[in-house]
Amino acid sequence: MATQGTASTSDFIKNLGKMYGTYTGGFIGFILFLAVLEQVGVPNKILGYLFVFFTLAVYAIIGVMTRTAEVSEYYVAGRRVPAFYNGMATGADWMSAASFVGMAGTLFLLGYDGLAWVLGWTGGFVLVSILIGPYLRKFGAYTVPDFLSFRYGGNFARALGVIVLVACSFTYVTAQIYGTGLIASRFLGMQFELAVFAGLVGILLCAMLGGMRAVTWTQIAQYIVLIIAYLTPIVILSTTQYGIPIPQLTYGQAIVDITAREQQMLATGLTTAAALKPHIQPFINYSPLNFFGIIMCMMVGTASLPHILMRYFTTPSVREARQSVAWSLLFIFLLYFSAPAYAAFSKLEVYTNIIGRDLTAIRPWLFSWGELGLIQICGKNAGSIDAIVAACKAIAGHPGVVRLQDFVINTDVIVLSTPEIAGLPYVISGLVAAGGLAAALSTADGLLLAIANALSHDVYYKMIDPNAPTMRRLTVARALLVVVAVIAAATAATKPGDILAMVGWAFSLAMAGNFPALVMGVWWKRTTATGAVCGIIAGFGLCLFYLVTTRYFPGAGVKYFGMTSLTNPLTGAPLVDIAKAMALPNAMESFPTLAHPMANKVGWFDLNNINCGLLGTPLGFAVIYIVSKLGKEPSAEMQAYVDDIRKPRGRTVLEERTT
């Protein structure tokens, strides 16, 4: 039985290339087939449905086929996912709706400053590989709290690990399900609340039945869909505009053209110096502190996110864990170094074909987004030519052409509308929607699994009932997965808003809570349990305090904690008049509504609360160091364990009972 199992598994691994090769070919064939359908006149709506349902069905089939009822398969995919494929799965796990749909739009709006996100979301993998990932793999844990519990003796450290994990993963997963709902509602014409739960069914089918094993093989399939979907439109654009099918090389020219056009718009009165944010000029949206803060928090946060670290528990060896991080970054890089090209092509299109055009000569693609409230001209939704002509007439002295300050576009529109901007067939739009859905679903799968695993393995099995039989542990894991997913979907359905900010908070929380304890646990043998526990509480606590106070209780922050108004990075002017706001009779309650919900308007050191990890992490390190120094050295046995995890060879430290 056992030998048979091993033989069929190694066959399975050997055939991966052939399987996913066929799958990729099949997917491309499917796109071509839909393109033909479009040509013979099948309506767009049907094409959208075919795309969404076909891809969802494929993920579900893979999920069902690779389902498992074995503990090590369920939690770590049997630890035999080859480095290359684990890299692809991590790529899909990593790239969320925010990356796929939001990133290019952010770059469009922020120009150079948006690159902080691009840098932050790639450079963190260097830290994963060098400081943490392979060591946790050698340790042989199922979850991140597992490591904390073993290294820092007991269930208190484990419980803290679970709290940090749930706090950051839940914030993050809500944003993903929100993204799923957004895409499904736009392309299927469903009601948003309904679309959220429809997306949820897709997520659960993969994650619930087969745990990490099913999610791994599904995520690889999702990566293939999302990368094809992301690259296709810009490769076509690059070829038609510059004659070379490599957009990453050709968009330099687009940037030159954008800069020239910016000068021209200034000269011809199409914009004012106040309204124009030059594309390549740094530090006009974020102050240098916040710019570098975002890079730091996203990088260190990457190396602390449990659902990402967990992916490196599934490789066959420590060496492959390291290689796998490199493959992950390569696959992620393919999307991230293309996003600025997306932004540049779209911006050039907007600057040349919309700004400066007569109001009556606006292209029709714009109106389908205007109707949804995602594009505004002259302050009104651009639903039709008549609507915008009327809106602009209302502005005194309006010249009758679109000026830069008249045009407002939602960041999510950029990627989703680029095929239409370029006048490509609808099949490409459907492809992009399928890619966005794949990105959101795969990340949601990984996150839900991380939460459910921590609750079932760490809380239920390790803390509540250590004698629970295997079947019951997995049943609990599945039940919890459904419960968490439904709560997350219910939260998402209330539209808590602003995906980028929520994702940013998740990173900062993970960073402040996990990073010091994980790094010191491996790299400083002298770290004591008390030190680590105090460090987690202090670092995570400070980060959470800053986040909650600046976001929800800025009045109290100003009154009791000496917070001051943040300043505009360009002019240095304060964002809110603190004296005026505090003089209001209900300063404590009304202050949040004065501040835009996305971020904070008050704080310390002019620091955005997305960067709260910048406060918590150094404190965490300092507390761990000082408290450890004060205490007694860890036992010789524990120090020997640390020596063990530093060497790839040999048995894992933690041997799990699997029957």
Binding site: V126, Y336, F337
Partner: protein
Amino acid sequence: MANSTDLKAKEEAHWAKTSRLMYTHLAVWFFFGFIIHMFVKPLNNIIIPILGFPLGFYMAAQGSLIVFVVMLFMFAKQQDKIDREFGFAEED
């Protein structure tokens, strides 16, 4: 006993080399993640020939990213070499 002190010495040498590799890569990471972008304004005055990118913008949009990817493949190789040198690598 001699055997165990041998192992201890080997472990320490292995870890010293591993730490050195870690610091080297962290330094490169810090340089391309942060330091170089502090000079974005002067770098933007340099235009990459043919491609047309201002250099400061290019480094943040592509240059640093390429460095990170290359670094990670190199790191995997180098760390494996160190592990093999001390006999701590996993069997193939």
